[in-house]
Symmetry: C2
Subunit: 491 residues, 2 copies
């Protein structure tokens, strides 16, 4: 694939001097328009050693307005990064809509390097590349423009360039190392480009031997890509043929997983106190053990309004040292969050090794409230099941202990609790007009919960459906389930 980047393409000084200022102006102009746009631009700078990736990054920073551009260099993983699933560092670095993010090194670097040095085998490498395809597709589905540059040099040119850089020490060990691995690196890189060179996210392989040619080509390619993306009206994303199943025919044909939750169970006050104390004591120990063993824990709470999420969460947190956990209450997204992919706000709060993050409502909003209320287009929430499964799979692969709860109550019990809330003064803040409106959509929500369980209850991240008509039962169930998940995971 690199044949076309070994042709001796060149630009002379005069042409460069004439073109460069025009390009600079055009880039600044397009960047101004971009500021109002609803999508981010992700520029990936990669290629062989000595091809001048650093020079290109500096040049882009020179050409573009600093207010709308951020550069991320992915050196070795930090302590902080190693403690979280690998893509966490990339999610952190994603540029907000309307801006340009330059990725110097990227999700490509580590898989390529590790395969070159045979730390991962061919199959593992393929899986990494497919993960990249999925990740980029997810960004593109969200509107992102991804421009991927690969800078290429022949072995001879690489040697020349590195000699320049290293001050002519032709026999230096670095030089030898690069020369030695040139062929293997080229083969491994070719595979990466081959698998990830998709229609919506193509690679631009650029001949880097002539600096003027390289620089102008980068600038003009980037300019053209952004201009074109700006011109394009927001494309209709609706996928062919995806459709939720037709409406049910009868009550019996409309059963959902929620109909199987036992709502009749109860627990006496005394038994409750005893059992809760027992499981909380266990959880206290387990949380410390997880800290020692550096296992991260993620707990997800979803459920009907007034189903008792808050109470259940408090019974969990009461059993843990306050330094070990964080509760993330998911309300409307912040401005900063709105400028990102919907999963971004959840990635940012992932716990570090040994810690616990509790999500009070979560990424499942995409397939629950956003689906039912029409805040997400159908193609968006249909796609979300896959996105969520990919996300949770990454957590599981990293060793994160994951428990997901749906707190279920009957519609009669909800009514009783709503009325109670209206009566009791200090509970009035907990009931709003929106709660009453949501209640009217009980059936579509039921269908959404059923689909959610059908599509996202996996081996590594099963759903626990908790009967919550009796709050005491529900709380004990939740604390016990958390214990069980931790016990199964810890040594």
């Amino acid at each position: 694939m690199f044949e076309t980047a070994e042709l001796g393409r060149k630009v002379d000084k005069k042409t460069f001097a004439a073109e460069e200022p025009k390009l600079h102006t055009a880039l600044l102009e397009v960047q101004r328009t971009l500021r109002e746009a609803t999508f981010p631009v992700i520029v990936i700078v990669s290629g062989v050693e000595g091809a001048g990736k650093g020079e290109v990054v500096n040049l882009l920073n020179k050409w573009l307005d600093a207010r709308g551009i951020q550069t991320y260099a992915f050196w070795d993983e930090s302590e902080e990064e190693r403690e979280r699933p690998r893509y966490w560092r990339f999610w952190r670095a994603l540029p907000p809509r309307g801006t340009v993010g330059i990725m110097f090194g990227s999700w490509y670097t580590q898989p390529i390097v590790r395969n070159v040095f045979e730390q991962i085998d061919a199959d593992a490498y393929e899986r990494e590349l497919h993960r990249i395809v999925e990740f980029e597709q997810l960004l593109i589905d969200d509107g992102a423009l991804i421009v991927k540059f690969w800078f290429h040099l022949t072995k001879k040119d690489q040697r020349k360039r590195l000699e320049e850089e290293l001050g002519g020490k032709a026999a230096s060990p670095q030089l030898k190392k690069f020369s030695k691995h040139y062929k293997r690196f080229a083969a491994v890189s070719e595979r990466a480009i081959r698998v990830t060179d998709t229609g919506p996210s193509p690679w631009y392989v650029i001949e880097a031997a002539d600096r003027r040619y390289r620089d102008l080509t980068v600038g003009r390619t980037l300019l053209a890509a952004i201009e074109r993306r700006l011109q394009r009206a927001q494309a209709a994303h609706e996928p062919p043929g995806s459709k939720p199943p037709p409406a049910p025919l009868s009550k019996e044909s409309a059963l959902t997983v929620l109909d199987q939750v036992d709502l009749a169970r109860t627990l006496s006050t005394r038994n409750y106190a005893k059992q809760l104390a027992r499981y909380q004591a266990r959880l206290r120990q387990l949380a410390w053990k997880a800290k020692q063993q550096k296992r991260n824990t993620v707990l997800v709470f979803e459920g009907w309004d007034a189903a008792g999420k808050g109470g259940a969460i408090r019974r969990v947190t009461a059993a843990m040292d306050a330094r070990l956990f964080r509760v993330i209450s998911v309300a409307a997204p912040t401005d900063e969050e709105k400028a990102q992919h919907y999963l971004w706000r959840f990635w940012r709060h992932l716990p570090r090794a040994g810690y616990v993050t509790i999500y009070d409502r979560s990424w499942y909003g995409r397939v629950l409230v956003e689906r039912v209320e029409g805040f997400a287009r159908e193609d968006e929430w249909l796609r979300a099941y896959q996105e969520i499964n990919d996300f949770e799979e990454q957590l599981a692969e990293h060793g994160v202990v994951l428990a997901k709860f749906w707190l279920h109550i009957s519609t009669e019990e909800q009514l009783r609790r709503f009325k109670e809330r209206e009566m009791i003064e200090w509970k009035q803040h907990k009931i709003t007009a929106e709660d009453w409106r949501n209640r009217e959509k009980w059936e579509p929500y039921e269908a959404a919960v059923n689909d959610m369980v059908a599509r996202t209850s996996t081996d590594y991240a099963p759903w626990s459906l908790i009967g919550g008509n009796d709050k005491r039962c529900a709380r004990v169930d939740v604390v016990r389930t958390v214990c069980e998940r931790l016990e199964a995971a810890l040594d």
Copy 2:
């Protein structure tokens, strides 16, 4: 993921009797509209043993008009199928636009079964699943509607159903076998559904314990999916941000791989005769050896008009027994071919084990003439590089020996040949107004060839660029290259 298909969903007799005729009529009606549509419908019927997949297939055949429906049952691979890359059988079975294809067993069956019985490991299984995702995406990109049904039974229900079928022989070995593997089969299937349950190609997991519920749900789901797909206007397929690089700045910055082809070489008549005879003799032996070793061979010829493709092909075929090869001259697609994906017409002609197919022009038309003439939309030809690479990778994985030739001549030499053709009576049929028109688009074609080589010259399927100003040189080069490719591949 199967929790939602273990709920005891049912439809009573009366409801079924009322609904079934309505559904039948509606399906026939939608099928009539479908006949005029530009897309095919692919229905995948899969699930656990005993769930009644056969009954469902029969029912769909009863409900739908036989003229627009075809059923394909993928039993064990035939001799004929085993001799070709594995997906060949599926390409053969794809329904033409405007019709419904029922896939009883499908691309899912073999990977699942082989993983259940540990004939392939987890990594290989993942690769298979990703291949499926890519295959289905390719069909969807081409407009296809894919409706995937998974029929589920609990272990208990499966036992009951199988006892019925096998006449109550509860202890029969078949029954034991299924029961024994139930759990493993469920886990492996769950993984398949999880990975391939994408937004545009979702799974419908259907509870199969109650036949009436199962049947009505299948019919209504299929009806809704087709109706919806029909309503949808042909979506704008344009992907975000994909764009060929900007126009070149100067001659030197516009060099392509074709500029590197040596056109000055010549060969004397005597040397030509000698060398040609030598390589043809070698090729004769190699072709027989490939037959013995059951290695399939695919040769692809592309090149400028009048570059000498026909002559080169004749020098290759002259060296082989006529029973061993077929030449496929790619002209305008037939009606039957137009009703399929553009790769379909090439899949159908793949050689069987030990044989040779020579494509005189090929699937590369998509990124050459269709790109330059605008017959394919930009998103279509941009996507095609990946599709073509996937296709050729499947050939390579199967062990097919693949050689791809671009016959290159200078524009002056082409002019000379065109004029010669016009002068010599028996060559006049070889030159048309279209040839002259194509000639005017030399530069865009050059750019297209360069991109084609950049994106599809791979390790397992490299491009050979043959200098053809001297026909003798070109012919010897081609025959020699075919020899070399065969020699490298054969024991």
